[in-house]
């Protein structure tokens, strides 16, 4: 769990235990503090975002060790570039873009191994429709209808479900088994909650492509989640 909570996009609450106080800053204030070299703010921002950066880095590079290096390089990039940051994008988007650029450089330098996990997934990610097709009747009078009609999931919201550790691991594994480009899109759009437009911007892909990749990734994660949520019913 992250030590730091981010109550909204509008302002951050940076808890600085060493100072025994809570500093409230909006994003402009935070950027300005970083530009001045405020150590406490850098420390808090770094703690707040490193986990997200690591998760994204893992979708580009072959190993956790390399991903950790990329995260460190990203923070160096932040220090180099913060003086020129003008707030044309959100700080978070800017951060993810720095990471993406660094990770891509690393990714091409170092040979990727094939992601393990879901059988039949290939690195082009062109395996989407087959999974969805399997949910439907393909022949006869029932063609186009659900083969096994989806049931309601209870409870209705994940807030109440408090996902168990096993389920979380299964989701993480499902994400880890996705083709790279699907993994990058679902990580940014759904896990991090970045807007679709900014996802396209960060990954330099078209909006249509972004949605296709997102759809395939979500379809797979939904399937992995299904037995866990159904299991909680009984």
């Amino acid at each position: 769990m992250s030590l730091w909570s981010w109550p909204s996009n509008l302002f951050f609450v940076l808890g600085i235990p060493a100072l025994q106080e809570t500093i409230q800053l909006d994003e402009a204030g935070m950027v300005e503090a970083l530009q001045r070299g405020d150590e406490a703010v850098f420390s808090a921002v770094m703690e707040a975002y490193s986990g997200s950066l690591l998760r994204l880095a893992m979708s580009f590079v072959p190993s956790r060790a390399v991903a950790e290096e990329v995260v460190q390089e990203t923070w160096m990039g932040v220090l180099e570039g913060i003086g020129r940051f003008e707030g044309r994008s959100s700080f978070k988007t800017w951060l993810f873009r720095i990471l993406t650029n660094r990770a891509k450089t690393r990714g091409t330098r170092e040979r990727r191994y094939e992601p393990f996990g879901l059988p039949g997934s290939d690195s082009d990610g062109d395996d989407g429709p087959s999974l969805e097709d399997s949910l439907f009747v393909t022949e006869g009078s029932g063609k186009g209808h659900w083969a096994d009609p989806p049931q309601g999931w209870e409870p209705d919201t994940p807030e109440r479900a408090l996902l168990g550790k096993e389920c979380r691991l299964a989701i993480e594994q499902a994400i880890g088994g996705l083709p790279d480009n699907q993994r990058q899109v679902i990580t940014l759009r759904d896990v991090e909650g970045v807007s679709a437009e900014e996802v396209c911007n960060i990954l330099t892909i078209s909006e249509t492509n972004q949605r296709v990749l997102l759809h395939r990734a979500r379809t797979k994660v939904r399937r992995v989640l299904d037995p866990y949520v159904r299991g909680e019913q009984s």
């Binding site: 030590l3 150590e39 986990g51 439907f136 186009g144 807030e159 989701i171 909006e207 759809h215 939904r222």
Partner: protein, 104 residues
Amino acid sequence: MAMDRNFKQQLMAYMAGNFSCREVAALITDYLEGTFTLSQRLRFQMHMGLCMACRNYLRQMKYTVATLRQLPTEPVPPEVKKALMKRFQAWKHEQSSQSSSPDL
């Protein structure tokens, strides 16, 4: 009751236009991402109104997205944090020596 069901099926086929459940499932992300035209949205919602299975599927997809949003991130390992703070201090030192040194 039998007539009711028959009527409902006919109404559904009529109102849902040519959206099959298969097509609804394929378009669900486009719908959730808000890229539909008004007429597409109406047809989609019409199908939803009449088809419990697709309604459940839509809820499951929304649930999936909400679940993903809640995945916890790892804390920064202490040694990484230490290394980064060292580099921050070096950067800060460099900054201040640059700004305080006179232009030569």
